[in-house]
């Protein structure tokens, strides 16, 4: 194969030239491919859908990690579900956290990403604060007694092994695992093309969190404009964390970012009208 054609939608599709194929095979759970593209660097796909590229991964990972962590301000224990490429772990570990638990269902993704996508994890799996578990994310949150300040769900789309991570049961159990004032964030697709997914998540999360909403960032290779991240917490003040506080935390952490900054953080909760309409049921 000389080109990768994404298989998300029947009517439109993005196509990447494959300049060098590093890996293509079926793991126990899914079809995994890693290849090089001249413009995007290394690209990882699962079941025919782009998961991450070296060129734009910073937008996705910074926004899914730093927004909840800087909003929280004192997160010590963080749970990542999915994220086998290790980049979410890498971003979270830039904060002064005590422990990060990463629960990935497909060990092959970790092994192969370490080998063929090494800059994503950049050694994060070897960090002493990392606690790696190979398990089904829903089973993990259902069984564990631990409490987390922040839970980040870095999953695939709702068809496939990531399916359970979009279930109402998952939100119920994840909520149970949150420490008081804890935050759950999840990747929730590209609403321009996947409006139903947004609506379903909104409906399923609402009963479990006092403050359930979304924030957005455009990730170029998640084709279709803004990607939505769901946000669930019982502390309504967290979303309103003021600019001075965010700046203080950001400066203190001394994290150099490429997309995230406190202004973007605040602004990302402003939702385009088509998303608001979908959430209020008028579309």
């Amino acid at each position: 194969m000389k080109h990768f054609k994404e298989t998300l939608y029947d009517a439109v599709c993005q196509e990447f030239r494959i300049d060098k194929l590093y890996f293509e095979n079926r793991t126990k759970h899914q079809h995994l491919m890693i290849f090089h593209n001249a413009r995007l660097g290394r690209v990882m796909t699962l079941d025919g859908i782009v998961q991450t590229t070296e060129a734009d991964e910073f937008i996705y990972h910074e926004m899914l990690a730093h927004v909840p962590l800087f909003s929280h301000g004192r997160a010590q224990r963080v749970l990542i579900i999915g994220g086998g490429d290790g980049a979410m772990l890498r971003e979270v570990l830039r904060h002064p956290v005590e422990q990060v638990t990463l629960v990935e269902i497909d060990k092959a993704v970790i092994d192969i990403a370490k080998k063929h996508l090494p800059d994503h994890s950049a050694g994060a799996f070897e960090d002493a604060r990392t606690n790696l578990t190979i398990a089904d994310g829903l089973e993990y949150v259902s069984d564990t007694d631990e409490k987390f300040d922040v839970i980040i769900c870095d999953s695939t789309d709702p068809i496939g092994p990531g399916e359970v991570l979009f279930s109402e049961e998952f939100y119920t159990q994840a909520k149970r695992c949150l420490a008081p004032g804890g935050i759950l964030v999840t990747q929730n697709g590209v609403p321009f093309f996947q409006l139903d997914e947004l609506k379903v998540t909104a409906r399923r999360m609402a009963p479990h969190f006092v403050d359930a909403t979304f924030y957005c960032a455009p990730v170029p290779t998640y084709y279709g404009g803004f990607m939505a991240f769901s946000w669930g917490t019982d502390d309504t003040r967290l979303r309103q964390t003021d600019m001075a506080t965010l700046h203080g935390r950001y400066d203190e952490a001394g994290i150099k970012t490429r997309y995230y900054n406190p202004e973007i953080h605040r602004a990302s909760f402003a939702l385009p009208q088509y998303i608001l309409d979908a959430l209020s049921g008028t579309s």
Partner: protein, 383 residues
């Protein structure tokens, strides 16, 4: 296909030698795949229908060598089950190059198809339409309409396809459900004698799509003309270009921007696979000689039962013929390949060749008696 069976008595020495060598090397029974013939068939069909994207109906012969050869030619794939998709996935064929054409699906099947990357689905009723609602952001739908065909060997319009008169209504409902029906598909039946039914169906679909498009906001623009392209079971030299000429003409009258698809199975693979069986026993009964072969209707010849095909047979020996019966290896009396045929005296170890045996043959074989399958071997394959 009622006009009897072709039987070839004798073979040129070169040809006979080739069969004997294959059995010497690989044993018996065999299904021998000739990739060059498959390539020729694909070329013939794409040359005669240049504006039609071909999707090989994997069900005709779900074999990795066949699929891989077609993949390399750039052919697409028509899949109808998770098993078929699984096989393509193992061969690293992208779902983007496939269409899922089974009109009746479990939810699991739809999800498997989407994971595989097939986004085109076929429906023929409202229940099936509703099953696709949760996936409406991703899928494109073809509505299968039914045109019955009395002269096809295998009529496929009885079991599937909505009545032409119901099509507009289903498209309307789809629109209300937020589903996009991008076009129509039909399957006039397999092994058609001529293309009159195809032409009629194309013309009716044309009219229907133009009409429906007037009243729905999204135009219909895809027409899938299915399969039905015949195999040459009489070895009469079917000219596919003449068969397709009226189809080509009918397609030429459609708007230039429509997407045209076909799902050929039989025509592509039938001639590319040859069966070789060996006489393993003989018996004389009521003046007829019974020959027991090591393959039969529960194996490679299953198409004689399920597909109503009558394959041309060949024996390598020449000589005076007498009434003979060719029977398969199982204990069942239905396991008879050919009755009342005239054959020269065969001996144990002699070969019987079955031609045009690539489509719906091994695809429907059973495990009855737990007899070993005919081994699939590739001609010209040094590996």
């Amino acid at each position: 296909m009622a006009n009897g069976r072709r039987v070839i008595i004798g073979a040129p020495p070169q040809e006979a030698k080739a069969y004997l060598e294959l059995v010497a090397e690989h044993g018996s029974p065999l299904l021998v795949f000739d990739r060059e013939i498959l390539e020729r068939q694909y070329q013939l069909l794409s040359d005669t229908l240049p504006d039609v994207e071909l999707y090989y109906a994997v069900k005709a012969h779900p074999n990795e060598h066949i699929v891989r050869a077609l993949d390399e030619l750039g052919c697409g794939f028509d899949v109808a089950s998770a098993g078929e998709m699984d096989m393509l996935m193992d061969l690293k064929i992208s779902g983007r190059r496939t269409i899922h054409t089974h009109p009746i699906k479990k939810d699991r099947e739809i999800r498997d198809a989407l994971r595989f990357g097939a986004t085109t689905f076929v429906v023929d009723n409202l229940d099936e339409l509703e099953k696709l609602v949760p996936y409406r952001d991703r899928v494109g739908i073809l509505l299968r309409v039914s045109f019955s065909s009395e002269d096809a060997a295998v009529d496929l319009s009885r079991k599937f396809g909505c009545d032409v008169r119901d099509a507009a209504g289903i498209v309307m409902v789809a629109g209300k459900l937020g589903l996009h029906i991008k076009g129509l598909s039909f399957h006039v039946g397999s092994q058609c004698e001529n293309s009159a039914k195809h032409v009629e169906a194309i013309e009716q679909c044309h009219q229907l799509m133009e009409e429906i498009s007037k009243s729905v906001p999204v135009p219909m623009s895809t027409l899938d003309i299915g399969g039905g392209f015949p195999a040459d079971y009489q070895l009469a030299g079917i000219d596919i270009s003449s068969f397709c000429a009226p189809i080509r003409k009918a397609l030429g009258r459609l708007p230039r921007d429509w997407h045209l698809l076909a799902e050929p199975g039989r025509f592509l693979v039938a001639p590319s696979v040859t069966s070789i069986t060996t006489v393993t026993g003989r018996s004389e009964r009521h003046g007829t000689c019974w020959y027991y072969l090591d393959d039969g209707v529960y194996g490679s010849y299953s198409g004689q039962i399920f597909d109503h095909a009558i394959y041309p047979l060949q024996v390598l020996k020449d000589g005076t013929t007498r009434p003979s019966i060719l029977a398969g290896p199982t204990c069942d009396s239905i396991d008879v390949i050919a009755e009342d045929i005239q054959l020269p005296e065969l001996e144990i170890g002699d070969l019987v060749i079955g031609h045009q045996m690539g489509a719906y043959t091994a695809a429907t074989k059973t495990r009855f008696n737990l007899l070993p399958d005919a081994r699939f071997v590739c001609r010209y394959d040094n590996s």
